[in-house]
Amino acid sequence: MSSVTQSGNKNSQDFELNLASIIDCFTVIIAFLLASTAFLSIGIFDAGIAAGAPQAQSLTPPSVQVAVEMKSNHRIEIKVSGKTTRNLSLDQAGEQWNRDDLVSRISEFKKEWPELQSVVLSADNDVAYHEVIKTMEKMKGQIQFVMLGGF
C-alpha cells in the first residue's frame, strides 16, 4: 500500500503514500452508496389500533368518544358521544379545512377529559388521502392516537 522512498539519506523517515489505490476503492464505494441510498426518508404514521389487536384489549373503554369527519365542502364535523353528547361544525378556512380550529377544539376536549386518548378520523369519499394525512398530522400534536374510521 505504501511505498517508502528513501532519497539519498538511508535514515530518512519521509515516505510517500500511494493514494491511487485508496482513491479507486473510494470511487467504487461512493458510486455504490450513491446508487443505493434512498434520498427520501420514509416515515410511518400509526393509524391506531382497532379493537382486534392485543394492545387494545387491555384498555378500558373511554368515557367519551370523539369522531372527526372531513366533509368534501371543506367543513369539519366533530361528534362527541359517551358521557356527554356534542355536535360541532367547523367552517372552512378559505379553500381549506379549518385544521387550526380543530386542533384548538381537541385541546379543549383534552383539558375537559384528560382520559381522552384517541380520536376517530373519517372523511367523505372524494377527500384526497394527503388531506386526511395533513389532518392526522395536526391532531397528533394534541392526541396520542388518531384512528381512521368510516368503515
Partner: protein, 169 residues
C-alpha cells in the same frame, strides 16, 4: 496543454512528467464517504413505492417495521409487491364491491395470507400472528378507495394500520 509544456520548458524543466496532487481528492472522497455512510439506512425493512406513486408528506419519524405491504396507486392495488387488483383511476370495479364496502378480490387475498400465517404460527411457536399492515397509498387516493382497502384487510385481522409517508423532518 502545449502552452503548459512551453511554460515548463521556459522555466528550465525539461521533464514532461507530472505529479498529480491527489491528497485533496482523497480528503474530499473521505468526507463524501462519511456523509453517505451516515445517511445510509441500516433498516432491514425497505419501502420502495412504484414510480408513478407519490406519497403524502408529513412529519413522521417512526421507522417502518416488517409487515404486510399494501400499495394503492391509480392503476391498481399491490400486495407484497404483486398486483392484486387493477383499478381504473383509483376506482374499484363496481361488481367487486360488497355491500359492507369491502372488495371481494382483496378480501380473498387477505384471507389466504391470514390462513398461511395461522398455519405457520400453529407449527412454529416463535411466529406470532401479526395484525400490522403498511399502507403505501398515493397522495391523491380518494378516501373511499382507502376505506375499501382498509376494510378488506380488517375483516381478516389486519387492523394495525401503518401509513407510509415521506418524512419532512
Amino acid at each position: 496543454m502545449s502552452k503548459f509544456l512551453k511554460k515548463l520548458k521556459k522555466r528550465g524543466h525539461n521533464s514532461t512528467e507530472m505529479n498529480l496532487q491527489i491528497t485533496s481528492m482523497a480528503d474530499i472522497f473521505t468526507i463524501l464517504l462519511v456523509f453517505l455512510l451516515k445517511g445510509y439506512t441500516t433498516s432491514s425493512v425497505t419501502i420502495t413505492p412504484s414510480n408513478d406513486l407519490f406519497l403524502p408528506t408529513a412529519n413522521a419519524s417512526d421507522a417502518p417495521a416488517d409487515a404486510l405491504k399494501v400499495e394503492v396507486a391509480a392503476n391498481g392495488v399491490q400486495i407484497d409487491g404483486g398486483l392484486a387488483l387493477p383499478l381504473t383511476q383509483y376506482k374499484f370495479v363496481q361488481t367487486d364491491l360488497t355491500q359492507s364496502g369491502t372488495s371481494q378480490t382483496l378480501t380473498a387475498i387477505f384471507e389466504k395470507l391470514r390462513a398461511r400465517q395461522l398455519s405457520i404460527a400453529k407449527n412454529n411457536t416463535d411466529v406470532k400472528i401479526d395484525s400490522k399492515m403498511i399502507v403505501i397509498a398515493d397522495k391523491n387516493t380518494p378516501y373511499s378507495t382507502l376505506k375499501t382497502v382498509l376494510a378488506s384487510g380488517a375483516t381478516h385481522g389486519y387492523t394495525d394500520f401503518k401509513l407510509a409517508v415521506v418524512s419532512n423532518k
